[in-house]
C-alpha cells in the first residue's frame, strides 16, 4: 500500500498548517495549500472550527485568576525570619 500524499489527501499537513496559522502568519504557499485543501475537505473544515474554539478556551482556562491559596503559618514565619536576618545584615 503505497499511497501518495497529495494536497487533497494530506489532512495531516493541512491540520498542522491550521495550527501554525493560529500562531504565526503562513507563507503564501502554505496559505494556498490550506485553502485548496479546505475547499475540498469537510472534515478538516470541522477540525479548523473546533481548533479555534479549543485555543480560545485553553487561553481562557490557563489565564483564569487562580484561587487564592494560603501558605501555612510556620513556613511563612520561617521565611520572615530569613528575610529579617538578611535585612539586618545590610
Amino acid at each position: 500500500m503505497n499511497k501518495k500524499k497529495t494536497i487533497s489527501s494530506n489532512c495531516e499537513k493541512a491540520t498542522l498548517l491550521i495550527e501554525k496559522k493560529q500562531i504565526v502568519p503562513l507563507t503564501l504557499m502554505d496559505n494556498l495549500y490550506v485553502k485548496i485543501h479546505l475547499a475540498g475537505c469537510e472534515v478538516c473544515r470541522t477540525y479548523q472550527k473546533q481548533s479555534t474554539v479549543i485555543n480560545y478556551m485553553t487561553r481562557k482556562i490557563l489565564k483564569q485568576t487562580p484561587t487564592l491559596l494560603e501558605l501555612d503559618e510556620d513556613f511563612k514565619r520561617n521565611m520572615q525570619f530569613k528575610i529579617d536576618e538578611l535585612l539586618n545584615k545590610k
Binding site: K3, K4, C11, K20, T46, Q50, K63
Partner: protein, 196 residues
C-alpha cells in the same frame, strides 16, 4: 539627572518594603506558582527563592511597577526555569512517545476513518456550555505528556513567542509545530470522546 537618580536611590527604602513582603504577597505568589506548577513543595520553594532573589537585588527596584508586579516577574522566570528543567529530563522520552503515540493519520495523510473529526457541538463558541466544556478540556490537557503541557503553558499562559519557547526548551522549530499539532489533535479527540 544625577540629582534625580540620587533622590530616587534615597527613596528606595521607602518604596520597597521587604519586611512586609511575606504578609502582603506570600499567599498570592504561592497561588500563582501552584497554578502553574501544581506541586506544593516546588511552589513553596519557588516563593522562598523569589523573596530571597528579590532581596538580593532590592536596590534595583525602581518603583516603576508595583512591588507585586516586580516580585511576580521574578517568580515567573523561576517558573520557566522549572519548566525547562522538567522538559529537559523528559524531553527524550517524550519525543519517542510522540512518535510512538497513536497516529491519527494514514499513509497518504488522510484521517483514519475512526479518527475523523466530526461536529459535536463545540464548533461555535457562543453556543458552548462553558463550565462543562472547561472541565473536560482541563482533564484532556492533563493527559498530555509533560513536554507538550509545558509548551502549552508557555504558549497560552505566558504568551511566549514560538522562538522563545523553542530556545528555552531547546527544541527545534519543526519539532515545536509537531508538538503543538499533536497536542491539539489529541486534545480534540479526547474532547470528542468525552463530550456528551
Amino acid at each position: 539627572m544625577n540629582v534625580t537618580k540620587e533622590a530616587r536611590l534615597h527613596h528606595e527604602s521607602v518604596t520597597a518594603q521587604p519586611h512586609l513582603w511575606i504578609d502582603s504577597y506570600a499567599d498570592y505568589l504561592y497561588s500563582y506558582a501552584m497554578y502553574r506548577i501544581k506541586d506544593e513543595e516546588t511552589a513553596r520553594d519557588l516563593v522562598q527563592e523569589t523573596f530571597l532573589a528579590a532581596l538580593q537585588k532590592v536596590d534595583t527596584f525602581e518603583g516603576k511597577s508595583s512591588e507585586k508586579t516586580w516580585l511576580t516577574a521574578i517568580l515567573k522566570y523561576k517558573i520557566i526555569d522549572v519548566y525547562r528543567t522538567k522538559s529537559r529530563t523528559v524531553a527524550a522520552m517524550d519525543c519517542t512517545h510522540a512518535i510512538a503515540s497513536k497516529n491519527f493519520f494514514q499513509e497518504d495523510g488522510h484521517w483514519n476513518v475512526e479518527d475523523r473529526p466530526a461536529a459535536f457541538g463545540i464548533e461555535h463558541i457562543d453556543k458552548l456550555e462553558h463550565k462543562e466544556f472547561e472541565n473536560i478540556l482541563v482533564k484532556c490537557m492533563q493527559k498530555l505528556p509533560a513536554l507538550w503541557m509545558t509548551v502549552f503553558n508557555m504558549k497560552f499562559m505566558e504568551e511566549e513567542h514560538a522562538e522563545k519557547i523553542c530556545s528555552e526548551l531547546k527544541i527545534s522549530s519543526g519539532n515545536y509545530w509537531v508538538i503543538i499539532h499533536r497536542a491539539k489533535v489529541n486534545i480534540r479527540a479526547c474532547l470528542q470522546k468525552n463530550w456528551l
